[in-house]
Amino acid sequence: VTKLDRSEIVGMLSRAAEKHGLDLRRFFELDRADELDDPNLRDLWLIWGDVLSENDVRRSA
């Protein structure tokens, strides 16, 4: 079992979003609206999205 700090996962989500021209807020909003088109991002959010808190999103803005 590998223990990871939340910040490492938040960093991974940020990098993935950035690669697709999104910030974390937009990433979050698109998922909520079920408008996330890219399957890579959709799968990534499915498995890791709930690690993200409102604070993380706010901090990344």
Binding site: V1, T2, D34, D43, L46
Partner: protein, 260 residues
């Protein structure tokens, strides 16, 4: 004694590793990632955050037609697990698995088919399938003719745990294929019917697997007595018969009274 969350997560990951080794042939170790106490993410290891994607590895699926070139097909298998509401058994909360392709070294992984599960989904079916256009690439590169979509049978569950008519009606609505329901209460009617179906399936599962049901009920503190060795019934209809089975069903009904 129920195993701890960690022990059950490790057992689950080990089963996946064994399955991968015995089917795909790759020596794949599924990694378990802990971010908090309540959940674990499980996928092909070694986990590496510097890798593109989710940190889990892609499992290569070499085909004979690839002529020894690096694999271009990749099954994806990732889970999020937690404990069930009773804090006794491991439960899959989320999963995504499917087939992805990487047509060339300079191109990223692209999905062919994805099967997703979100236990808490409300705006979509908990388990659903996404089809992508790369299906034609897989057939084409293997020298196979492309079947028509309707000729491909995508699995969506076994004889017991299959989509229901109710879920199909919800699909018609969500997919905007049909929305002219006869009454505004249509959704409540569907939910009620779905709940009844789930209960019938639970009973039917008990009839099919009486020993497992008995073990489970006993582990929950129920007193279940079998008058004779129990054997599974066939998967026939909805008949309520045979004393020993009826006892188990009765115990299931009385669960709230018997537990504790």
């Amino acid at each position: 004694v129920t195993e701890s969350f960690s022990e059950q997560a490790i057992a689950f990951a080990n089963r996946l590793s064994t399955l991968a080794t015995r089917t795909i042939g790759s020596s794949v170790e599924f990694a378990i990632i802990e971010v908090d106490d309540r959940r674990r993410r499980i996928g092909p290891g070694p986990f590496d955050l510097t890798e593109d994607g989710s940190g889990f590895q892609w499992i290569g699926l070499p085909r004979a037609c690839d002529d020894g070139e690096p694999a271009r097909l990749f099954p994806k298998v990732e889970f999020e697990v937690g404990m069930d509401p009773e804090d006794q058994h491991l439960a899959v909360r989320l999963s995504t698995f499917g087939l992805w392709v990487r047509p060339g070294p300079k191109r990223g992984h692209r999905p062919v088919v994805r099967v997703k599960y979100d236990r808490d989904a409300t705006a979509k079916p908990a388990s659903h399938v996404h089809l992508h256009a790369e299906l034609a690439w897989v057939y084409g590169t293997a020298g196979e003719s492309l079947p028509r979509l309707h000729e491909i049978h995508f699995p969506v569950g076994g004889k017991r745990f299959r989509p229901t008519v109710e879920e199909f009606l919800l699909f018609l609505h969500r997919g905007r294929l049909f929305r002219d329901w006869v009454t505004t209460n249509w959704r409540a009617a569907v939910d009620t019917s779905l709940g009844e179906w789930e209960e019938r399936q639970a009973r039917s599962t008990v009839r099919r697997f009486p020993d497992a049901a008995t073990d489970q009920l006993r582990s929950m503190g129920c007193r279940v007595q079998s008058p004779a060795p129990m054997s599974p019934l066939s998967d026939g209809g909805e008949t309520d018969d045979i004393g020993s089975i009826a006892l188990v069903l009765h115990a299931l009904d009385q669960r709230a009274v018997a537990v504790g």
